[in-house]
């Protein structure tokens, strides 16, 4: 049984509060695309502090770490592969006659069809 010192909980709380202030301040600055990196980075650190200390995971057995890690690993797969799909939809031009699915390809196909009379009979 791991009873943590009282002070540790207050230190972690202050760190979390400071992170929150930092996130808001950073949001009012223009870092371009890095605004997202900073926001998610700070949120990630805050989550890590809550998990390791408030939830005592740092003091748990390695098997518990596997269970904790599994959930976030599956989340990473969900977001990673889904965004990979969406991000790559415009990469390959569909051959003539095939239906394109990316937004840009669909727009181009629609523009091409209206600019010339329909080449095929249905």
């Amino acid at each position: 049984m791991h009873v943590l010192p009282l002070r540790l909980y207050f230190v972690i709380f202050l760190a979390l509060a400071a992170g929150t202030v930092l996130t808001v301040l950073a949001a009012f600055q223009d870092f371009g695309v890095f605004n997202n990196v900073v926001a998610l980075g700070i949120a990630g650190i805050k989550a890590l502090l809550v998990i390791l200390y408030f939830m005592h995971v740092r003091y748990n057995k390695p098997l518990t770490w596997v269970f904790v890690g599994a959930g976030f690993f599956w989340l990473a797969i969900l977001i990673g592969i889904t965004m990979g799909d969406y991000a790559s939809r415009d990469w390959e031009r569909a051959p003539q006659g095939w239906t394109a699915v990316g937004p840009q390809a669909v727009a181009e196909a629609a523009a091409a069809e209206t600019s010339e009379s329909s080449p095929q009979e249905h």
Binding site: K46, F54, F67, W74
Partner: protein, 216 residues
């Protein structure tokens, strides 16, 4: 000490309390993994549509009150502190401190929900609730509605989780007051603590992703 098998609270299929505690922790994290994926689905949908319609999400976020969101974030983090202190009190068998910290957690959690009710009411007056009275403002694209769909579904599901948490917390308070917990047995408090901290973590991500898009 709580570690020996003479502890009356150890179920017969466990060697000792330490093993029983580890098992309940594993069980709770297995459930939290399903919660991670539940909210994860919503975050993934958010990611897809924010990347598709950045301007609509930027403008939608501008309609939210940053300072209310900031205040609520501090309130919820504070409730995580009091919850962690409640668990610590239960580990040490300190009943009065346990009840006090659980009550404080409940007050802070309720304050959070109170602010959310106020925010939702504001949205209603500004015609920003999709499916209820949504009016797309002048110059906005239809995807402006999409941002608010995500706002209400994500914060709504989060609030629902908090309400469930408050109900369970009330039950824990009653049981604590009736001396159901001690250094020998405090698992329900500890396990509930894991749930409450998880709900806090979800908000830690919701706040910047919903309230702080393009505030510069």
């Amino acid at each position: 000490m709580s570690g020996t098998s003479h502890n009356p609270h150890v179920a017969h299929h466990f060697d000792d309390m330490e093993q029983q505690r580890e098992a309940s922790t594993l069980g709770m994290w297995a459930f939290l993994a399903t919660e991670i994926l539940f909210f994860g689905g919503l975050f993934t949908g958010y990611t897809v549509y924010r990347s598709r319609y950045p301007a609509a999400f930027h403008d939608g976020s501008g309609e939210l009150d940053v300072w209310l969101g900031f205040l609520n974030t501090l309130v919820l983090i504070g409730s995580s502190l009091t919850m962690a202190l409640a668990v610590r009190a239960s580990q040490l068998g300190r009943k009065r401190a346990l009840v006090l910290f659980l009550v404080l957690t409940m007050i802070l959690g309720s304050a959070f929900l109170g602010v959310k009710v106020f925010e939702y009411a504001q949205k209603y007056h500004h015609h920003l609730i999709p499916g209820v009275n949504f009016v797309v403002p002048e110059g906005q694209t239809p995807q402006f509605t999409l941002f608010f769909l995500f706002y209400f579904v994500m914060t709504g599901m989060h609030a629902l989780h908090m309400i469930v948490g408050l109900v369970l917390m009330a039950i824990l308070i009653v049981r604590s007051a009736k001396d159901r917990f001690s250094e020998q047995y405090y698992a329900p408090v500890e396990i509930f603590g894991l749930y409450w901290h998880f709900v806090d973590i979800v908000w830690i991500f919701l706040f910047p992703l919903l309230y702080l898009i393009g505030r510069h």
